[in-house]
Amino acid sequence: MSAWSITEPTPRQKWVAGILVVLYALVTIVPLIWIVATGFKSPADAISYPPKVLFEPTLEGYVNLFTTRTRQTQEYLDANPPETWYEEIVRQYDMVIAGPSRYGERFVNSIIIGFGSTFLSVFLGTLAAYAFSRFKVPLKDDLLFFILSTRMMPPIAVAIPIFLMFRTLGLSDTHLGMILLYTAVNISLAVWLLKGFMDEIPREYEEAALIDGYTRFQAFRKVVLPQAVTGIVATAIFCLIFSWNEYAFAVLLTSGTAQTAPPFIPTIIGVGGQDWPAVAAGATLFLLPVLVFTVFLRKHLLRGITFGAVRK
C-alpha cells in the first residue's frame, strides 16, 4: 500500500488530527468564551488581574446594557426601596434606573437592516443569476465582470462619495439607505454565487416543465427554485454575516434612528466608566441571531459548500 492511497487513518493519525482540531478550536473559541463570561462578571472581576476564570456570576452587565442609570441622594434612596431584582443590582452603586438604554432599538435596527438587505440581495441576486445563467443577455460577460468589479476594492474606499450621495438624497441615517447600501455591496457576491448554483441545475428540468404546459415563470418558481434552495440559503448566510457585522459604514452613515448595534456597542464604554461587562453582554446578544440563523440552516450550508464538488 502506497503512502498516497486513501485508507482508514491509523489511531495515531486520528490522535494527531484530534489534537490539531482541539488546538484550532481553542484559538477560535476561547475569545468567544471570554466575551460570554465577561458579560456575567462584575466590573471588578472583569478587570481583575490575574484574570478570574472562576467568578460569581451576576446579571449586572445585562442590566447596565439595557438601562440608563443616575446617581441619587441617600434620602431618595432610603425613601424608595428597590422593587425589582434589577433595581437592587443598581442600588449597590447608589444609583437608580432612569430608563431603558438604546440597545434594544439598535438591535432592532440591525435586524431590520441586516435581514432586509439580505432578503433584497438574495431576491435580486436569484433573478439576475437565473437570467445570466439561462438567457442570451447582450454583453453578458462584460456585465458579469462589471458586477464582480464592484468588489475589487474595499467598499469603504468609496465612503466619501457615498456619504455625500446619501446626504444629498436624504438617505443618511435611514433604514432604507442602509438596506440599499448593504444590498449594493452584497449583490455582486449573491449574483456570482447563485449563478454558479443555477448553472449546475440542468436546463432540462425547466424544459420538461415548459413542455408539460407551464410558463417560464411557473417553471422557474416550481422547478428551479426548489433546486436552488441550497444555493439561496448559502448565499443568504454570507450576505447576512456581512451586513450584520458591518461597522465602518454604520459608523459613518448612521447616528440615531437607523444606527445598528455594531457602532452602538462601543459607545457603552463611555457611560459611567469602562463598563466591560455591559459591552461583553451587548456583544454576546449580538452574536445570537446569526448563530441561530446559521445553525438553523446549517444542513443547507454544508451541502451548499460542497455543491460543485460532488457529482450527483
Binding site: 440542468p202 432540462e204 433546486q227
Partner: protein, 365 residues
C-alpha cells in the same frame, strides 16, 4: 396523434448554422429517427419541433397547424430527455401528475390516469418513492410515464437510452418500440447510434453538419446510400470505398477500375473523373479466380463470420466472409463483388451516381 411536416427549417446560432434548410415529413404514427454524429443538428431539429428552440426561418406543421413560433406548452407534445429530467424534489407520482395538474385536471382523474399509465409501464409499486433512488431503467420508465400520461399528439425523444448501460439499453429499446406499437403515437427519436436507429425506426433521417444527407426507410438507407457520408456512417464495418479514375455512360452495366472490368447496377447518367466504388463488406466474396486482387492484412474472428482486411489497388478493403473460409495473413486473393449492390459515388461531391439500384430512392432526396 399527428403528422409532422418540416419545411425549410433553418437554425443559426450567431455565425454557426446548426440546421440548414431541412424539409421532411413524419407520417402519423411513425417511429421516426433523427440520426447523425454529435453536432450534426439532429437535437436542434428535435428541439425546434418541440418548441424549446425557435427556428431562424422555416415552418413546422403539427397536424396541419403551423407552430414554429409557438411556445412549447401550446404544442401538445411530450419530450423525453437523455438525462430523464425527472423533477428531483417530487416523488414518482407527483412527477407523473405534473403535466396533468398544469391542465387543471381534477385530482381524482389525475390519480386514475397516473395509475393506468403506471400499470402499462409496470411501475405501480414505485409510485410513492422519491425519484432519487430509482435505477436507470425505472427512471426511464417514469420519464416515459410522464410523457405518456398526457396523451400528447407526438413524442420527442432525445437519446433516451443514452444514459443506460449497454446491457439494459437493448431491453429498453424493445420495450420502447413495443410501447410505441401499442399506442401508435407519432414519435421523433434522436440518436447517434446507427444500430438503434435501424433496429427501432420506421424511417430514418441521416444528418451531417446541419444538412439532411438522406431520408427513408432503414433498408433503403443501408442498401442505397445517397452519399458517401451515409454509406460510411451506417453499417459496421462501414461500406468499403475504392477510389479510381474512370468513366461511365447511361446504360452501362460495368465500370473499369484499375484495369479490371467490374459489374455495377445499370447506370442512368454519364460521369467521368474521380469516382468511388462503394461495396458493403458482406457483398465481397474471396475468390481465387476473381481478377481484382488484394493481399490479406488481418482477420477478425466474430463467430459465424469473420472480417478480412485486405490491401487492394483502390485502398484497404474489409470483407465479411464465413468464418469457415480459410484465410491466412499475407495471402494474395481475388475479390468478387456482388455487382447488383454496388453504389458508385462522385469522389468530389460524395453524392451517389444514379443507377437502376437507387433511382427510386434518390428521386425524393
Amino acid at each position: 396523434m399527428a403528422e409532422i411536416v418540416i419545411e425549410n427549417l433553418r437554425k443559426e446560432f450567431g455565425d454557426f448554422t446548426a440546421v440548414q434548410a431541412s424539409s421532411f415529413r413524419i407520417e402519423d404514427g411513425e417511429f421516426f429517427m433523427l440520426l447523425g454524429p454529435s453536432g450534426c443538428g439532429k437535437t436542434t431539429t428535435l428541439r425546434m419541433i418541440a418548441g424549446l428552440e425557435l427556428p431562424t426561418s422555416g415552418e413546422i406543421y403539427i397536424d396541419g397547424e403551423e407552430v414554429a413560433n409557438r411556445p412549447a406548452s401550446q404544442r401538445d407534445i411530450a419530450f423525453v430527455f437523455q438525462m430523464f429530467a425527472l423533477y428531483p424534489h417530487m416523488n414518482v407520482r407527483k412527477n407523473m401528475s405534473y403535466p396533468l395538474v398544469s391542465q387543471g385536471m381534477k385530482r381524482a382523474q389525475v390519480r386514475a390516469k397516473v395509475a393506468e399509465v403506471a400499470r402499462i409501464l409496470g411501475i405501480e409499486d414505485i409510485l410513492d418513492r422519491p425519484v432519487g433512488g430509482l435505477s436507470g431503467g425505472d427512471r426511464q420508465r417514469v420519464a416515459l410515464g410522464r410523457a405518456i400520461v398526457r396523451e400528447p399528439k407526438a413524442f420527442m425523444m432525445d437519446e433516451p437510452l443514452g444514459a443506460l448501460d449497454a446491457e439494459f439499453r437493448e431491453h429498453m429499446a424493445e420495450e420502447l418500440r413495443a410501447l410505441h406499437d401499442r399506442m401508435g403515437a407519432t414519435t421523433v427519436y434522436v440518436t447517434h447510434d446507427q444500430l438503434e436507429a435501424m433496429q427501432m425506426g420506421d424511417k430514418i433521417v441521416v444528418m451531417n453538419h446541419g444538412v439532411i444527407e438522406q431520408f427513408g426507410v432503414p433498408q433503403d438507407i443501408y442498401d442505397k446510400p445517397a452519399t458517401m457520408f451515409v454509406a460510411d456512417f451506417i453499417g459496421s464495418p462501414p461500406m468499403n470505398f475504392l477510389k479510381f479514375h474512370g468513366e461511365i455512360h447511361p446504360g452501362d452495366r460495368a465500370v473499369r477500375m484499375h484495369d479490371v472490368e467490374l459489374g455495377v447496377p445499370q447506370a442512368r447518367g454519364p460521369f467521368q473523373g474521380d469516382m468511388v466504388f462503394g461495396v458493403r463488406p458482406e457483398h465481397i466474396r474471396l475468390d481465387d479466380a476473381a481478377p481484382y486482387r488484394g493481399r490479406v492484412l488481418a482477420t477478425e474472428y466474430l463467430g459465424t463470420t469473420q472480417i478480412v482486411t485486405l490491401d487492394t489497388p483502390g485502398g484497404p478493403v474489409k470483407a465479411r466472409t464465413a468464418s469457415a473460409d480459410a484465410v491466412r495473413v499475407g495471402d494474395n486473393v481475388g475479390l468478387a463483388f456482388d455487382g447488383r449492390t454496388v453504389t458508385l459515388f462522385d469522389s468530389q461531391s460524395g453524392h451517389a451516381l444514379v443507377s437502376e439500384l437507387n433511382e427510386g430512392v434518390l428521386a425524393h432526396v
